[in-house]
């Protein structure tokens, strides 16, 4: 691979590495403290999860869902309220997710089948669901104190009786790393059999080894803090499902097709209405799920929770290389975008940059990423 194509393919990963190193130096290494590394993903759990759903919406043609911050708040408020009046955790969770699913059906139907422009439909949803959330909360703050609810989302996996360092985390990391490597060899074998190679096998293995190294390093740091957080598992479950959905399933392919050329997609026997419906349904459902995570992590819910969270999810997608016109973008790319945003946030907080300047930096990064994407694609289009 030529240096220029390599740079282009992995721009965002390189940017992430550079930004990470930059803030590590700036904060005298504080960014690398086990606690900070562990918190990085937990603090951004809602971004990582909602960015998966937002990617689907964006794929269908650069459409976004503005209502997710409000849906998140509504789901969290509902859970908190139910828990506060003594409803068991399992029931509260089910009811909240059900409401999120109903919102998803509602918005998916309006956008897919009634052809309401997504921007307007979800703008209305943004007001509607925040309003409902405040009605449920009676404009108060409700604390979340149910133990089993909190345990389900915010505890750490710590074997009985052990006290840190939690080496079990490293064991899990190594097992995952080995599994990835074995799977890679298996898939290379399969590619050889079919007589079609995507890229050189050596390159594929090197790539896997780098990912393995990052995983093991990450679990080593986790073992020095409190072990593996349960929330990390929730994040991974969602991300893996969505990565698989978009890259390897027939229905995932439809999102790209509709975003690329809706008319051609329809004439190929694919119903675009269904594709829109599923995108917005899954988005709302993930927003509802994120509400549970955020509610548990913060430990209380108020009417302003989730304000502007939709913008974090949208920004992650665009920073992560999703096209503003739809039809292209991947879950791994979007995850890199979300983590990049998270590192910048955390780095600036640790460094102590005033809040107002943090906004300026975030805006600049988003703009730079999109400008870079458009300009570099334009150049390839010309040649």
């Amino acid at each position: 691979m030529k240096v220029s194509t390599f740079l282009k393919k992995y721009t965002m990963i390189l940017a992430l590495v550079i930004v990470f190193i930059f803030f590590t130096v700036l904060t005298n290494g504080k960014l690398l403290y086990a606690q900070n590394v562990s918190n990085l993903l937990l603090q951004n759990a809602y971004v990582l999860i909602m960015a998966c759903g937002m990617l689907l919406c964006i794929l269908t043609g650069g459409n976004v869902d503005l209502s997710v911050g409000s849906t998140l708040c509504l789901s969290a408020a509902l859970s908190a309220k139910l828990l506060s009046i003594g409803v068991p955790a399992g029931v509260a969770i089910l009811v909240s997710l059900l409401v999120a699913a109903v919102i998803g059906v509602w918005q998916g139907w309006l956008i897919g089948y009634v052809h309401i422009p997504p921007f307007i439909c979800t703008l209305a949803g943004m007001f509607l669901f925040r309003g409902f959330a405040r009605v449920i909360l009676s404009s108060k703050t409700i604390a979340v104190m149910n133990e089993s609810f909190l345990n389900l989302f915010t505890s750490y996996i710590q074997p009985e009786g052990s006290e840190g360092p939690y080496n079990s985390a490293i064991v899990v990391g190594v097992i995952i790393a080995v599994c990835l490597l074995v799977f890679k060899f298996y898939s290379i074998g399969k590619q050889k059999k079919s007589g079609y190679m995507n890229s050189s096998p050596v390159g594929q293995i090197v790539k896997t080894l780098i990912i393995d190294a990052v995983i093991i390093a990450y679990t080593v740091l986790l073992s020095q803090y409190k072990g593996i957080p349960v929330m990390l598992i929730w994040i991974l479950v969602v991300v893996v499902i969505f990565a698989f959905l978009t890259s390897s399933t027939v229905f995932g392919r439809y999102f790209y097709a509709v975003g690329g050329n809706e008319k051609a997609t329809k004439l190929s026997g694919i119903d675009p209405r269904k594709v829109y419906f599923v995108a917005y349904f899954l988005m709302s459902f993930l927003a509802g799920f994120s509400g549970l995570l955020v509610g548990a992590r913060i430990g209380s819910v108020d009417g302003n929770m989730g304000n502007s969270y939709e913008m974090d999810a949208i920004a992650s997608c665009f920073i992560g290389g999703a096209s503003a016109y739809g039809g292209s973008g991947t879950v791994p790319g979007v995850m890199v975008g979300a983590i990049l945003l998270g590192v910048i946030n955390q780095g600036m907080s640790i460094y102590g940059l005033p809040d107002q300047w943090q906004y300026v930096v975030k805006g600049g990064v988003l703009l730079a990423a999109v400008v870079f994407d458009v300009v570099s694609n334009h150049k390839t289009g010309k040649s």
Binding site: V250, R253, A264, I270, S383
Partner: protein, 513 residues
Amino acid sequence: MADYILEMKSITKLYPGVKALDNVNLQVERGEIHALVGENGAGKSTLMNVLSGTIPHGEYTGDIVYNGQECQFHNIHDSEKLGIVIIHQELALIPELTIAENMFLGNERKNSFGKINWNETYKQASEQMKRVGLKESSNVLIKDIGTGKQQLVEIAKALSKNVKLLILDEPTSSLNEEDSKMLLDMLLGFKKEGLTSIIITHKLNEVAYCADRITVVRDGSTIETMENPNHDIDEERIIKGMVGRELTDRYPAREHKIGKEVLFQVKNWEVYHPVYTEKCMAKNISFEVHKGEVVGFSGLQGAGRTELMMSLFGKSYGTKISGQEFINGQEVHLKNEHDAIEHGLAYATEDRKVNGLVLEDSIAWNTTMAKMSKISKRGIIDVNKENKVANEYVAAMKTKTPSVQQAVGNLSGGNQQKVLLSKWMFAEPDVLILDEPTRGIDVGAKYEIYGIINDMVAQGKAVIMVSSELPELLGMCDNIYVMNEGRLVGTFTAEDATQEKIMSAILSSKDKA
């Protein structure tokens, strides 16, 4: 010594890795119609982009001498100032603006404060429209007039710029024969008034009809310039120059083996316009297609052929659809496109870029799009299998591409068309409807596509071919149905049909109506 309005000398244009133009020389005499012919990707459009300043001076080497003066154009305004106007294949009109607004876009009639003088705008627009024979009011929106008339607006727009040298890139590719002839006659009229034109086209009968001289471009070089003083040049002679070999037969031979079984039958089909629901687009249509048969549909633009075919293909067009549809003797009620595909029907659109392909996606993705069940199990895609079948189709179709991962948008028109055909052949239909399968592609690629069609019917499938090019229908079809204004106005067998008979069927039906 001839009086040259334009001489392009030793023009060379390099793209990274490709020599798009290699030492090209072109001489255009004042007051002539000069045709530029060549296969897709030969470099015709690049050459015209150099001339118009779209490719600015400095990005190519060589000289442009216009009216005896050496010129260096840095953008399209520089060339337009001197009266060189180019009309691109894809029309550059804005649908939501009026004819007059489009005509003076970027060239507005305004006073010194920048306020647009609308009276002057509409008056001047009407004058130019009269010259091209447009009877519409100049405040009609572009979207409300047909493609043929839009092409005329483009020409009127060029005239309003005081054009001396008019360049037309494929002006008739989306026009029917009648509109095409009208346009060419208009060019001949302007020629008498002293206008020089360069016309790029794939339609060789048009070249013979209107061009005074013909320059052949092949692989980025000018091969030869032919004289055509009496407008009777042999088309085979031009083809020989274009492809560098003689295509002895423009339509590959096929054993006509029409089966007895009726594969596809339509009875009393009727369809109405989706928006103007009173407007009937196809009325009382009945026809049948046998196994191993190529059936042609001829007619003028707007005859209702595309609308008919799309409504047959799972109601993808129109409202108030009625009539019966039979596949393999069974009556079917196709609810949507998916249903149609499942029943063995396929429709390859006339507009591959808008309705056919996802341009930013790869060849592999486009190939499998209409029948993903073949490369997946329980909804999970087998990527290796997908790439393998895509490679097989690339090989079978002779699609020119470095890999099946290539985005379809980066391919030439002919290769895109092959991907579109691959996609529908991959869906394994019994009946394949091809709407204008060779529009805007070069002679060599056309020949290959005809061969593919022949292979399909040899496998016992049936092909319905909608085309505006009569010679193509005559060369390929076993039976030809003629449509006009939504009705069937004639049926001919291959032996029976001639261009004259088909045209007269259309025209006489017009008289009746």
